[in-house]
Amino acid sequence: MLRGLALKYYFTYLKDLNLLENVCIGLKLYFKGDEYKRDILLKWNAITLKQVTA
């Protein structure tokens, strides 16, 4: 079961897929793929000591 962004993504791009396996692969590719990892890395690199202590 999905909610939020994952639910939106499912109904936008994955709703026509019949197999559960394919839906899983589609979700993983989008939310855990290279783009997601790069986004996380950017956020990680943007963390500063000042932000943490504030």
């Binding site: 079961m1 999905l2 909610r3 939020g4 994952a6 639910l7 979700l27």
Partner: protein, 147 residues
Amino acid sequence: MFIRDILNNLSKDRLKEIRDYLCENRVYIRKEARKSIADGLLGAIHKPTPLKWPADDPTNDPTNGPTNDPTNGPTNDPTNDPTLALPLLPTTTQATDQLALQGSFGREITNLAKLYTDEVKYSSEQDNFDFKFKIFQNYCLRASVPK
């Protein structure tokens, strides 16, 4: 029990193939709502005498012959008229399978939806997909939704 384990380990498509093959060869496998194909196969295996083909079964006897007496079968064997009997069978069984899939598990899926709360749904933000998927599988098992 050993046979049940073997059947449970097989995929649904494989079980369907076995059932369809047996049906083509005049072994009746009972189809019931909320019972897996494996249960139907097990029922047929453990019966001392083979089940008679019921007259009201939508798939009906593949031979198109008298449905009540299996001993009459060989005389009406599909080999007598392969052009009629063979092309019709797969379409009818597939259609009934699809109907069974769509119509029979509504209650289970409703139960599954009731079990779910927002916390256990996957939202992509700070959620582990594999973890949430395992929860989904676990809930399916609890609500007895077939695979």
